[in-house]
């Protein structure tokens, strides 16, 4: 702060300096805005926010470490390939890092000349993973392209979530509205809810078979209980005054359900949906590992016996990115659909 002393007017220069400080403060976290007058910031959670520069630093660190740990230092720029390899149409240029290292390993002319923290069989290099991504996208793995695997997985999740919601929300509402329904559904819900969906995979495969026919029911099972409980607590969260006000304004039972209880339960339904989506996504990958011919989980698992760590890493990254994207979409929807949440 360049506060003028003894009534000296603030000149242009000092004002400009302040503007600049404010701009960089937002990126680097120097004190600014409301914070610049606070003397206590350690322990004041309102003074703590996520600084973009540090987020970028973390991102760069992760990829930097991956790159440094898997880069083969001192690997020759070019190597003569054996005749049989040349006949097979291979050039050193076209080889992946993993193959180059394999070629190099047996040869006198480059032995001992390179070093690497993580071997190709421990973790794939950045370049190999990058190239594998495009290979999977264009040619596919075991004749299934990345997009086909992704859409198979997403399709299962969507159907599982739809099934779980369409079954769970009415049951949850019934449990919140009627003593008979509460009594009837309480027992099965409390008995079945604690079962981890993964424990049911073998049973579901035997009953429904391999692929979608067992994966989708499993995902419905995974999301159903969460949606039931979310819907039930959503109904129970309704303020009695709101319901009474609606009846006093001439609403019928049906109208109270559609125009009061349902919109009022939206925040709880949304929370349930987000939790269920997370659980469903995790269950899906496990279900595909053992019981599906396609899907991202199947791809990751099928790469193991072939030692295709690059395929695994691409699969894992795609699974992670999709998970993040789904959460972003849901958060955006939440801000549009229930703007009143947490206010008032």
């Amino acid at each position: 702060m360049s506060a003028p002393m003894g009534g000296t007017p603030i000149d242009q220069a000092s004002l400009r300096t302040n503007d600049e400080t404010r701009w960089s403060a937002s990126l680097f976290g120097r004190r600014d805005g409301a914070n610049n007058r606070k003397t206590v910031t350690f322990g004041d959670s309102s003074a703590v926010r996520s600084l973009p520069v540090w987020s970028l630093l973390a991102f760069v660190s992760i990829f930097g470490f991956w790159f440094l740990a898997t880069y083969a230092w001192g690997l020759p720029g070019d190597l003569q390939l054996s005749e049989s390899q040349q006949e097979a149409g291979l050039t050193y240029e076209s080889l992946s890092d993993k193959q180059r290292i394999a070629v190099c390993n047996g040869r006198e002319d480059c032995k001992g000349s390179f070093s690497q923290l993580l071997q190709p069989l421990q973790f794939p290099s950045v370049r190999d993973t990058w190239n594998t991504f495009f290979e999977l996208k264009d040619e596919g793995f075991r004749n299934v392209t990345l997009w086909e695997n992704t859409s198979a997985s997403l399709g299962r999740v969507i159907r599982g979530m739809l099934g779980g919601s369409l079954l769970g929300i009415p049951i949850g509402f019934a449990m919140g509205l009627s003593s008979r329904a509460r009594g009837f559904f309480d027992t099965p819900v409390e008995l079945l809810r604690p079962i981890p969906p993964l424990a049911l995979i073998p049973l579901f495969i035997l009953i429904f078979g391999i692929g979608d026919s067992s994966a989708v029911p499993l995902l419905i099972f995974a999301s159903l209980w969460i949606m039931i409980i979310a819907a039930r607590s959503g109904v129970q969260a309704a303020n009695l005054s709101k319901v009474r006000a609606a009846y006093s304004l001439g609403a019928s039972k049906r109208q109270v359900l559609l125009h009061v209880l349902l919109p009022n339960a939206l925040p709880e339904l949304f929370t349930g949906f987000r939790v269920a989506l997370g659980v469903t996504w995790g269950t899906l990958v496990a279900a595909e590992i053992v019981g599906a011919p396609d899907g991202l989980g199947a791809m990751v698992f099928a790469a193991r016996p072939l030692f295709r760590l690059d395929v695994m890493v691409v699969g894992i990254v795609v699974i992670a990115v999709l998970g993040v994207m789904m959460d972003i979409v849901l958060r955006w929807l939440e801000s549009k659909l229930i703007p009143w949440r947490g206010k008032g």
């Binding site: 005054s241 009474r244 009846y247 304004l249 125009h259």
Partner: protein
């Protein structure tokens, strides 16, 4: 009318509460907590059925909630997922009223309660006093014969509360509606009620029934002046001492048992 409402097993929330109220009156219910003011209001609204006795409006018995009895709650009864205008239009919409008429009526009511131009706002964007104005407008949109108010100004700060009292008096005079208002503020009960029931607890009953001129005067006289007038302060002290006696009696009874 006789109500006898056991709450749980044998607690008499109300006992032998009988009265008639002419149309167009503003009745305030006043009393210490636990005297059954809100229970009485809920019975009138039709949310509770009396265990004994009967309630009727214009000769027709009250068996459940109905549009001819509008209700204004203390707070939290507005629909957050709707805009201010949609909240006000809720009643007509439930009755499948003409949409453009409902819209026009909502705009008109917003002007009446002093919220012109706020129709597109969300409920959480309004202050507590503004929210209660919306609640009043929503209630009026259905054109009820009787408006029941359960401590409608209880959650507001003192200044907002005085302004809202003025608004309630104006609405009462302009619309000619019958209003029954529950409050725990003696001043508010005296200022608003042209009839005041002071209620006594355990079991809840009407202790005294006042007919007062202040509500009528409040329409023409300044509120601060009226509340400072000797007749007003005298009545206030009189009722306060009744309530204090009740409180002390309750305390004594509790110590004895």
């Amino acid at each position: 009318m006789v109500y006898d409402v056991p709450n749980g097993e044998s607690v008499h929330a109300l006992s032998d509460v009988s009265f008639d109220l002419e149309a167009g009156r503003l009745l305030t219910l006043l009393g210490p907590s636990g005297c059954g003011k809100t229970t009485l209001l809920n019975i009138l609204a039709g949310f509770l059925a009396p265990t004994g006795g009967s309630v009727s409006l214009g000769g027709a018995p009250i068996t459940g909630p109905g549009q001819e009895r509008g209700m204004v709650f203390q707070q939290g009864a507005l629909f957050e997922w709707l805009t201010v205008e949609q909240n006000i239009g809720f009643g007509p919409r439930m009755n499948h009223a003409n949409k453009s008429e409902t819209k026009a009526r909502a705009a008109e009511l917003l002007e009446i309660v002093g919220l012109g131009g706020f129709g597109d706002k969300r409920i959480y964007e309004l202050s507590g006093g503004m929210q209660q104005r919306v609640a009043l407008a929503r209630c009026l949109a259905n054109d009820p014969d009787v408006i029941l108010m359960d401590e409608p100004l209880g959650a507001l700060d003192a200044l907002t509360r005085e302004k809202m009292q003025g608004l309630i008096l104006e609405l009462w005079k302009e619309t000619g509606k019958t209003i029954i208002l529950v409050t725990h503020s003696v001043e508010e009960a005296l200022y608003l009620g042209d009839r005041v029931f002071v209620m006594a607890p355990r079991p809840g009953r009407i202790h005294s029934d006042y007919q007062l001129p202040f509500a009528e005067q409040g329409l023409t006289t300044d509120a601060r002046e009226l509340k400072a007038a000797p007749e007003f302060t005298q009545k206030r002290e009189e009722i306060l001492s009744i309530i204090w006696e009740m409180e002390e009696e309750i305390m004594g009874r509790q110590e004895a048992s």
